[in-house]
């Protein structure tokens, strides 16, 4: 699966799609592949604050639980509630319909620490190599 060029990415395998000061956040295809079939998602409530680098929820598969880390700080304006009944969207469309939360960023210009798609693809390539070493 291609990694959308206009998204930004974290080392913890989250992606962020910025439109103005609103950001859509989700986990990447690499992450969903590692997890396996997603069975449950725990998302923050609308109105709650998330802080860059800190966890804001979890994604669960049959065999693992993963914390999700906020790529940036802000306030949650929407959560993808449909995931409660169809968590598999995270597997089938992790960069689209499988989005997790929409956030109003506190500082939309401060995304310098995140990777672009090319850097992210290099990053996961080296992660895979290490895992099979």
């Amino acid at each position: 699966m291609a990694y959308p060029a206009n998204y930004r990415y974290t080392k913890e395998h989250e992606w962020l799609d910025l439109e103005g000061d609103l950001a859509l956040i989700g986990i990447t295809d690499y992450a969903q592949h590692e997890l396996g079939d997603v069975v449950f998602v725990e998302l923050p409530k609308v109105g709650s604050k998330i802080e860059a680098g800190k966890t804001f929820g979890t994604v669960e598969s049959v065999k693992a639980v993963s914390d999700i880390y906020a790529p940036a700080s802000g306030e949650v304006v929407e959560a993808n509630d449909v995931l409660h009944s169809t968590p598999e969207k995270i597997n089938t469309d992790p960069h689209g319909a499988g989005w997790l939360i929409k956030v109003r960023l506190g500082n939309p210009s401060d995304l310098g620490g995140l990777m672009d798609s090319a850097a992210y693809e290099l990053y996961i390539a080296s992660e895979s190599k290490e895992a099979s070493a």
Binding site: D37, V39, F40, E60, V62, P87, E88, A131, S132
Partner: protein, 518 residues
């Protein structure tokens, strides 16, 4: 020797080999849920008639009275109960049927005499609060078991309170914490190897410690040189499993103990793999300060489908004052008593006094063997090494140090054809065995963890080796057969994802049900 197996005739879909010697399909009864057989007016157990005036429950209980019977509660006859559960039992694999090569589970024979003595009138019938002078028999059993476990572990004090291994671990860590607190500083961290079983870090966190993971070195052992730097005055303890979860003896354990002790830290040993050590060496002699035992592993008490067990904790004298209550003491003239009050005790970890019924079974096992228990350990290690010898080269062996009672392979060779450890395990079922432990320890990707125990004959070991070799061939020549296994079981692979997404955790009357099992 008699083979019961033939080439199994199954549905045309599956492609069975005639190498499957031990297993054959046999008729498996259909059976629904007991609630689905229920019908008003049927009863399975009658009580003797009431011999006192009948109370009026409405009057006696007032607003708390439940005027109707429990909705949906089963109403069936005795024969239906017997048939229902007997049929269910035939769907299970069990040690009584054959080898369970589950690593670190020590699935050994559960001697029947243990069941008999645990049920004796005068043992099964005793109430924990009855007068202690009417419980001397129970207390003598506890005392003798304590003595035996001290002799086996080389420790100086023991508690029989914890109800299972995980609770034993927690008790052990709480002892460590109490010890450090008494010395003025509980400390912050517990070091845990990345090969450890998941209960270790979970327990450490529940005991209020931070976990620091230590990476194993290239042979799968604890990296002793790195350890020196990691042991700071902040470290309360190291939790070691020995032999490690790779089945390999941690040769440098005495050194590890010294490093820890020099900084005032303690060495905790997870005793899950005690089946490799009993009668050969003693953890207390190796420098271990505190350890738990799994009576349902090393000491033959039955797993019963997942419990009960017991997790006694043995320790050096320095930890004795902190033992959980109650504490067994000997008073004048050999009279035994349980004391409930100890000033430095960590408190009570469970109501009453340990899983007595399980403790009886463990003692019966020890008494049957006596000093000859070493033979069991030798046979366990012999079986594991025999299997290892015959499967080396067939499966990838990631760590080449000598194995003790269990051996860990990986699926690296079979992965080339897209066959992984889970697939191989499922195919092993068709050959008449329970799978080995898959995907653990985490430091071996695609692990196959095999522990035969001493209860397996040479014949059973040979059948197992043959089965594994045959599956390896299938993985190369017919991978689909392995990937879609098992083929001969009552149900095929079950949808675990669906079960987790939309959990159905109870039967409901008139609820829409999926088709009854056919």
């Amino acid at each position: 020797m008699q083979w019961h197996g033939r080439s199994a005739t199954t549905s045309p879909k599956s492609n069975m080999t005639d190498k499957i010697k031990k297993a054959s399909t046999h008729p498996s009864q259909n059976e629904g849920l007991i609630f689905e057989k229920s019908s008003p007016g049927k009863r399975a157990f009658e009580l003797p008639p009431l011999d006192v005036p009948a109370a009026d429950p409405g009057k006696a209980l007032g607003a708390a009275h439940r005027s109707e019977g429990i909705e949906g509660f089963p109403e069936v006859s005795e024969i239906e109960v017997i048939r229902h559960f007997t049929r269910l039992s035939t769907w299970n694999y069990a040690i009584d049927l054959g080898m369970y090569p589950l690593g670190s589970c020590t699935m050994k024979y559960n001697p029947r005499v243990n069941e008999f003595v645990a049920r004796l009138d005068g043992l099964a019938t005793e109430h924990p609060y009855q007068p202690q002078e009417l419980s001397q028999g129970c207390l003598k059993i506890l005392q003798l078991l304590e003595k035996c476990l001290l002799e086996i572990t080389g420790m100086e004090a023991v508690t029989l309170q914890p109800a299972a291994g995980a609770q034993g671990e927690l008790t052990g860590l709480l002892l460590i914490r109490a010890y450090h607190e008494k010395n003025g500083n509980p400390r912050r961290k517990v070091l845990i190897p990345d090969s450890a079983h998941g209960t270790n870090p979970a327990t450490a966190v529940i005991a209020g410690y931070e976990v620091e993971n230590i990476k194993s070195e290239s042979h799968g052992q604890i990296d002793v040189d790195k350890l020196r730097d990691l042991v700071t005055p902040d470290v309360a303890a190291l939790m070691i499993t020995n032999p490690s979860t790779l089945g390999i003896f941690e040769e440098r354990i005495p050194e590890i103990a010294e490093i820890l002790h020099a900084k005032g830290a303690l060495l905790y040993m997870d005793g899950a793999n005690m089946n490799a050590l009993t009668g050969i060496t003693r953890p207390g002699d190796l420098g271990v300060d505190v350890m738990h035992l799994n009576l349902h592993k090393t000491f033959s008490t039955p797993h019963g489908g997942g419990g009960p067990g017991a997790g006694p904790v043995a320790m050096k004298k320095i930890l004795e004052p902190f033992r959980p209550v109650p504490i067994l003491v000997e008073k004048e003239a050999g009279r035994l008593a349980l004391e409930q009050i100890r000033p430095d005790s960590i408190g009570r970890v469970k109501a009453f006094s340990g899983n007595f019924g399980v403790l009886v079974r463990a003692l019966a096992y020890i008494l049957a063997y006596g000093p000859g228990v070493r033979q069991a350990t030798e046979d366990a290690v012999l079986n594991a090494n025999y299997i290892r010898k015959h499967l080396e080269g067939v499966f990838d062996l990631p760590y080449s140090l000598p194995s003790m009672h269990e051996v860990v392979f990986s699926d690296a060779l079979q992965k080339k054809n897209g066959v992984n450890t889970m697939d191989i395990a499922k195919r092993l079922i068709d050959y008449g065995f329970h799978p080995y432990t898959t995907a653990f320890p985490l430091i071996v990707p695609g692990a196959l963890m095999i522990e035969p125990t001493e209860s397996e004959s040479r014949e059973e070991c040979d059948l197992f080796v043959d089965a594994m070799r045959s599956i390896a061939e299938e993985a190369a020549s017919n991978p689909e057969l392995v990937k879609t296994a098992p083929h001969t079981t009552r149900v095929r692979r079950l949808d675990e994802v669906g079960a987790a997404r939309k959990p159905i955790l109870r039967w409901k009357p008139q609820a829409s049900r999926t088709e009854a099992a056919d």
